[in-house]
């Protein structure tokens, strides 16, 4: 489950077996993560899952009960926050209200007793980098949310830390601005070329910007991997349902055969809710009789009007509720045995799709065995 950094640049931040409790509440439970140099790494999870606590431990504001954190191989846990080679962008920005944007950004440089020309040069550079030109003499109260965010990023970057910590930096902004700033954040990451550790509860943000993601729930890391791995092959029920939208059904493994063409195991599972068996591929042989969860993403399901057999894993039913959202539609299909299944359909018409699907239409849905996957319940040790 633990992700092993294998890039050419090596590991920048190593988090080993970190445990932290607040009273009876276990915020972090034996968390281990390796973060590569210069990558954009996201800690993703619902609120209260421990991701912010981990970030605050890295920054030095909290002390873990056990475990260790190293930067470039050196433990940093004994260092106070001011001595650590990382800077943080706070959720509420934490700009100093009595200082202008420029003075906020210059603050850490002045502490380091840098000479005035050098400070001016550096501050100008970072003001330009975050596109704040023209606003540098305003106080935080005179800046918009997005501008404050930029000041906070510039202030954290100006000391050229080896790691930048970002604690849900976009959560206070509106959706449109969030999208724009996300792109800019990615550009800034490319320009400064340091490790970014980004905490978010927004899975689409994490998927679109990260090199790697660690998915948290209830103080544990459930899965670490690239956005593609996390989305396409989630390891547990929680990851599958938290990242993106999906259909999940409990199932029992009935049969398992190796398919030489696919070079994968073809597994047949019985799903009571569908009243039928379904075939699904997996990299490993799975023992017969195991209880797992079968999951299939809505966009991987094909939907056509009328009663048509579309090959493997095919079911028919009625459209119970179509939800139109511009570029696509989401259908809640009530299958013949009364189970609901979510299906996404892009608004691109293919020749053999038949007529437009509407409310109460009779439809057939199907999916390929390679698109479904089996996941385990959260805490079972073995898959």
């Amino acid at each position: 489950m633990e992700y092993k950094g294998e890039g050419a640049k090596g590991v920048a931040v190593e988090i080993r077996n970190i445990t932290k409790s607040f009273g009876d509440f276990r915020a972090l439970d034996d968390v281990s993560i390796s973060i590569e140099k210069d990558e954009f790494f996201s800690l993703l999870g619902p609120s209260g899952c421990g991701k912010t606590t981990l970030l605050r431990i890295i920054a030095g504001f909290e002390t873990p009960e056990s475990g260790d954190i190293t930067f470039d191989g050196n433990s940093i846990l004994h260092l106070p926050p001011e001595k650590r080679e990382c800077n943080m962008v706070f959720q509420n920005y934490a700009l100093f209200p009595h200082l202008s944007a420029r003075e906020n950004i210059a603050f850490p440089l002045k502490l380091r007793k840098m000479n005035k020309d050098e400070i001016r040069r550096k501050v100008d550079h970072y003001i330009h980098l975050v596109e704040l030109d023209g606003h540098e003499d305003k106080r935080p109260a005179q800046l918009s949310g997005g501008q404050r965010q930029r000041v906070a990023i510039a202030r954290a970057l100006v000391c050229e830390p080896s790691v930048l910590l970002l604690d849900e930096p976009l959560s206070a902004l509106d959706a449109k601005l969030r999208q724009n700033l996300l792109v800019e954040l990615d550009e800034i990451h490319d320009k400064v070329g340091i490790t970014f550790i980004y905490v978010t509860h927004d899975q689409s943000e994490a998927l679109s910007i990260s090199d790697h993601i660690a998915v948290f729930n209830e103080g544990k890391v459930l899965q670490t991997g690239s956005p593609y791995e996390i989305y396409e092959s989630p390891s547990t029920r929680f990851v599958a349902s938290f990242i993106g939208d999906t259909n999940i059904f409990p199932c029992i493994v009935e049969n398992s055969v190796y398919d030489n063409n696919l070079e994968e195991w073809l597994i047949t599972v019985q799903i009571d809710e569908l009243g039928s068996t379904v075939t699904v591929t997996d990299y490993d042989d799975i023992e017969i009789g195991r209880r797992l969860y079968f999951t299939i993403r809505p966009e991987k399901i094909r939907i056509v009007g009328g009663e048509r057999k579309l090959g493997e894993n095919s079911f028919s039913g009625f459209v119970d509720e179509p939800v139109y959202s511009g570029y696509q539609s989401k259908f809640f299909v009530k299958l013949d045995n009364c189970t609901f299944i979510k299906v996404l359909k892009g608004h691109t018409t293919y020749l053999d799709d038949g007529p437009e699907i509407e409310w109460k239409d009779r439809v057939s849905v199907s999916w390929r065995a390679v698109d479904g996957y089996l996941v385990k319940e959260e805490w079972s040790e073995k898959r």
Binding site: M88, F90, A94, F107, P108, L111
Partner: protein
């Protein structure tokens, strides 16, 4: 637009009228009377003769009076400084505590008892046969009672006791409003713990600090009952002289002149401190 603005102005005047009347009746007019009286001749049996004179101000230049003015200044400065020094950690702890309401309640409780009674309670504690001396003698720690009352020590102690809540409350309000994540940010950017407080917290709670200063310094400067009840010959303050001049010596112009001096000194003091506070902030920004 223009008409709107005008209407708002008229309304603003109307709303501030009660306050204006109040201030004029009970503050501006009495001060004016005192100011005028201080430049008149004293009447034979109290009151004033309506003849202009500088006699009262000349009388103040008497070294005995100057000593009292000087003493009033330094007692006030010391007592205020102690109040502020004690109130900062206390307010900080209160703002960070989960039991804020309890602490606020504890601070407000003493106000339920008349202040004179509380001063008398201090007399019982501090006097030569008082509780503290008795206990210490019984315990064998001292053989002779410590002179703790009717001196500068007792005056400053009781003044600090009386006015400490007035320093804690405004400072607590300011610290409670302070965004503590700013301290985290300052430390993250390279400040030590203490430096973060000085560079980031102090500027943010400045107004609370000056409120605390004004709420303690001005009443202490005009203190009358405390030096009268727990003070001795060497700790008379201007407030006591004014009362003596009105009631015993019946020199109203002199009493008025002292009042004018008292008001002037406290006004100048507060103005100077507010001014230096502003300068200090500018300096901080430059130094930083």
């Amino acid at each position: 637009m223009k008409r709107d603005k005008k209407r708002i102005n008229v309304r603003a005047y109307l709303y501030s009228l009660p306050m204006g009347i109040w201030v004029t009746l009970f503050f501006a007019i009495p001060i004016a009377i005192i100011l005028i009286y201080s430049f008149l001749e004293k009447g034979l049996y109290g009151g004033v003769e309506w003849r202009a004179s500088l006699a009262a101000y000349k009388a103040i230049l008497n070294p005995n009076f100057l000593i009292v003015i000087w003493r009033t200044v330094y007692i006030s400065v010391i007592a205020t400084a102690i109040c502020l020094l004690l109130s900062f950690p206390a307010s900080y702890a209160m703002a960070r505590s989960r039991h804020q309401t309890l602490f606020l309640f504890l601070i407000i409780i003493p106000f339920w008892t008349n202040s004179l009674i509380r001063v008398y309670a201090w007399i019982n504690l501090l006097s030569t046969e008082g509780l503290i001396n008795n206990v210490l003698i019984k315990l064998g720690i001292i053989s002779e009672p410590i002179p703790m009352i009717y001196n500068l020590f007792s005056v400053i102690l009781v003044l600090v006791y009386m006015y400490l809540p007035f320093a804690i409350l405004p400072l607590f309000t300011a610290i409670d409003r302070f965004d503590f994540s700013l301290l985290d940010a300052a430390r993250d950017l390279g400040c030590g713990r203490l430096r973060a407080i000085i560079l980031v917290m102090f500027p943010a709670i400045r107004s609370g600090f000056f409120n605390a200063l004004i709420f303690t310094l001005i009443p202490i400067f005009g203190a009358y009952t405390v030096p009268l009840l727990v003070g001795g010959m060497g700790s008379t303050m201007v407030g006591n002289i004014i009362v003596d001049q009105v009631q015993k010596t019946r020199n109203w112009p002199l009493a008025s002149a002292f009042s004018v001096i008292l008001t002037l000194i406290s006004m100048i003091g507060v103005m100077a401190m507010l001014g230096s506070g502003k300068k200090k902030e500018e300096m901080n920004e430059k130094l930083l």
